[in-house]
């Protein structure tokens, strides 16, 4: 039996080797993703191009604008005479944020009722979120500083006890610089393994069936069970190698820390690959031809990308949608990958998630074997 399986594995490997472009692209796509996330994408937007209409041009307005610029979130790239000019600038897409300071700003500040209008381009989500939040916070902080200055000048402190204050110490655990890449790497490893496990198995099984060679193989002494193992093992190895490449580049080139145990991660990844292979087999048993299998795969990939927790947090989704997400193995593996790589937790913390993954594998393998057998009869 071992011999037969080994022979099958050898056959799959030589078939895969012949199709080197596919292998090349399979590896290129994740690498491209890694490089783009490493160098290009940042959801915490800084240096937002800003247009300013300063109708006061006095010390107070200048110090307010300085506070905005010094924060690093806003870069003044243009000036306009009034609010309409600012809106035109944003309409044209030259600036994303507009700051309008009305006349007599200094006088109003001293009287305590100065107004600043910040206009944010709402057609760009991340920019508008950052701009909205930081304009408020920076304006508030600047304003509070003015209050304290006034109080200090007035000598209120001399009048007796100190003023009450409250400081927030905010610690961001696991990822202190809030780097997008640190957050993306574990999810990418999970996505990569699922994509490749799904795509490679489904392609392998369906191709064989389309060419009519599956019957040829089945008339040999090879049993369906052996055939499955023989088909699966080479792709497990290829998928794992790709995943390790991505993690190695992340850790050694981009310096993303790997906090937990590598071997625990490696072991659980192999388990996870099994679940992807099971789903791949199920897809290929269900579909009639390569094209159908490919379309189903595209659908699965897209849905799991959105619902698996890779980018968008799952706890904000409605319960019905969360259940759909549970149909994909990636949903179970993302907390495991983040737990080990980013948080550095051990098996005891993850045992619940691992149990879910094991149950998923058993169920999906069972369904795949049944449909595979039915199709052959």
């Amino acid at each position: 039996m071992i011999q037969r399986i080994l022979a099958l594995i050898q056959k799959e490997f030589s078939q895969a080797w012949r199709d080197r472009t596919t292998m090349g692209i399979m590896l290129t796509i994740p690498l491209m993703q890694l490089i783009i996330f490493g160098y290009a994408i940042n959801t915490n937007v800084t240096h937002i191009p800003t247009v300013v209409a300063d109708q006061s041009l006095d010390t107070a307005s200048r110090s307010y604008l300085d506070a905005m610029v010094n924060s690093g979130y806003f870069d003044i790239t243009a000036t306009a005479p009034d609010q309409n000019g600012v809106i035109q600038n944003i309409d044209a897409g030259q600036a994303r944020v507009g700051i309008v300071i009305p006349p007599d700003f200094e006088k109003d500040v001293l009287r305590g009722d100065a107004q600043v209008l910040v206009l944010v381009d709402g057609s760009d989500l991340f920019t508008s979120q950052s701009a909205n939040a930081y304009a408020t916070i920076i304006g508030q902080a600047h304003s509070i500083q003015i209050v304290y200055d006034v109080i200090a000048q007035a000598g209120a402190q001399a009048s007796g006890s100190a003023l009450p204050t409250l400081n927030a110490l905010i610690h961001v655990l696991y990822n202190p610089d809030m780097s997008t890449l640190w957050f993306i790497i574990p999810g990418m490893a999970a996505m990569l393994l699922q994509t490749q496990a799904l795509a490679l198995t489904a392609a392998a099984v369906v191709r064989e069936r389309e060419m009519g060679t599956i019957e040829q193989i089945l008339v040999t002494p090879i049993r369906p069970f052996e055939l499955m193992i023989g088909k699966i093992v080479p792709y497990v190895i290829i998928a794992m190698l790709n995943m390790l490449t991505v993690i190695a580049i992340g850790v050694f080139w981009f310096h993303v820390p790997f906090q937990g145990s590598f071997w625990l991660f490696f072991g659980l990844s192999s388990l996870y690959v099994l679940s992807g292979l099971g789903l791949g087999l199920l897809i290929s048993s269900v579909s009639q031809n390569q094209r159908q299998a490919q379309q189903l795969m595209m659908l699965f990939m897209m849905v799991s990308l959105l619902l698996g927790g890779f980018i968008f947090p799952r706890y904000t989704m409605p319960a019905a949608v969360r259940i759909i997400g549970n149909l994909f193995p990636i949903t179970y593996f993302i907390p495991i990958a983040r737990g080990i790589i980013t948080k550095g937790v051990g098996f005891s913390v993850l045992s619940g998630q691992v149990a879910d993954l094991v149950i998923y594998i058993v169920v999906v393998m069972f369904l795949a074997t049944i449909t595979f057998r039915n199709r052959l009869d």
């Binding site: 692209i25 491209m32 160098y39 500040v109 304009a135 509070i144 409250l166 696991y174 640190w182 948080k343």
Partner: protein
């Protein structure tokens, strides 16, 4: 079939499932003071709507464990003697955020900072007013000297769908057009029927056009469908001129077809064409401004993004749908798209001619 199902599924998932703005972060609190002041501060945090208190714990250690296990995303720790320390001018709270979840951490960070700042200022003004300092600071009525009013243009509630829908239309159209035209010629070539077709009186240009029209129709139908559902069902406002959008969409479709034809000319077989299309799709998702902002990207990724027609069309469709601006504001993008279409079609023609000779 999938060409119609996929856009719908994507639209409904983005509409109902995916949320880019995170509120109601699951939060654990540790209140080691249990006095009036600490309760008041916790109340202020909870009332903001950004934090849902789901767990009450005893110490920081337990908060870290809960965060390790992923049950909470935020931890708030109030040290003992909170009230006394606040009044003495050195009150501190510790806020822990789960950095492994990028959306949660950004929302949590900003909200926590803003709420504490405001709370602290309220304490100060309260104290000054009650202590008779009001005489000196008659202007201070518990209100900040500068009020920053932010107004979000085009999308006042920062609704995800208003932002997503135009980009989604661009993405789906591009996927359909590029896939279709990339497959068109390569399939014939693989099946060996390309030579047969060339032997007929049909000229190459006529042949290509005939092959491209079905894909074009599917793309237009998809666009109309998503647009109609988005506007009538999800009430996404359509601010601009629909005829202008229709006209520029055709320009976009032609440039997408050009790109597909280049792929078709370069690829040796269907599978290679498919893989090249997948690469372009990935780049389109990440670099064209569909989801992630282009302003923060380094120049070289912006240039790569400029090689994909969707980059120009995302700006155009957002301009028309969301901003309601006219051609005067986007003639550069429209002109670029036109030049792009001409260049890419010329390249496709040149390569195919070479391969046929």
């Amino acid at each position: 079939m999938l060409f119609f199902a996929l856009p719908l599924i994507e639209l409904f998932l983005f509409a109902y499932a995916v949320s880019l703005t995170v509120t109601h972060l699951p939060t654990a609190i540790v209140d080691q003071s249990l006095d009036a002041r600490s309760r008041d501060f916790i109340q202020a945090l909870a009332n903001s709507g950004n934090f849902d208190i789901t767990l009450v714990l005893q110490n920081e250690q337990q908060v870290r464990q809960a965060m390790d296990a992923g049950t909470v995303k935020v931890g708030l720790i109030i040290p003992p003697n909170f009230e006394k320390q606040v009044l003495a001018g050195n009150g501190n709270v510790l806020i822990l955020l789960d950095g492994s979840d990028s959306f949660s951490v950004q929302s949590g960070y900003n909200a926590a900072l803003s709420i504490t700042q405001k709370y602290s200022l309220n304490l100060t003004t309260e104290k000054i007013q009650s202590g008779g300092g009001a005489v000196i600071l008659n202007a201070l009525t518990g209100q900040l000297p500068i009020t920053t009013t932010t107004r979000v243009l085009y999308n006042p509630d920062i609704a995800d769908l208003i932002f997503i829908l135009p980009g989604l239309i661009a993405l789906i159209m591009q996927i359909i057009i590029v896939t279709n035209s990339a497959m068109a010629i390569v399939r014939e070539r693989e099946a060996g029927t390309l030579e047969q077709l060339l032997a007929t009186p049909a000229r190459p240009a006529e042949m290509v056009l005939a092959k491209l029209i079905p894909g074009m129709l599917v793309a237009i139908l998809d666009m109309a469908m998503i647009l109609a559902i988005g506007v009538f069902w999800f009430k996404v406002p359509f601010q601009g001129n629909i005829l202008l959008l229709a006209g520029l969409s055709i320009l976009f479709i032609i440039s997408g077809m050009g790109l597909g034809l280049v792929i078709s000319a370069v690829a040796r077989n269907q599978r290679q064409a498919q893989q090249l299309t997948a690469v372009i799709q990935l780049l389109a998702m990440l670099l064209t401004g569909f989801l992630y902002p282009r302003t923060t990207m380094p120049l070289w990724t912006q240039i790569i993004g400029n090689l994909i027609p969707m980059t120009y069309f995302v700006r155009i469709i957002r301009g028309i749908m969301t901003k309601g601006v006219g051609l005067t504001f986007m003639w550069t993008d429209s002109l670029t798209l036109f030049i792009y279409a001409v260049i890419v079609l010329a390249i496709a023609a040149a390569i195919s001619k070479k391969r046929l000779d």
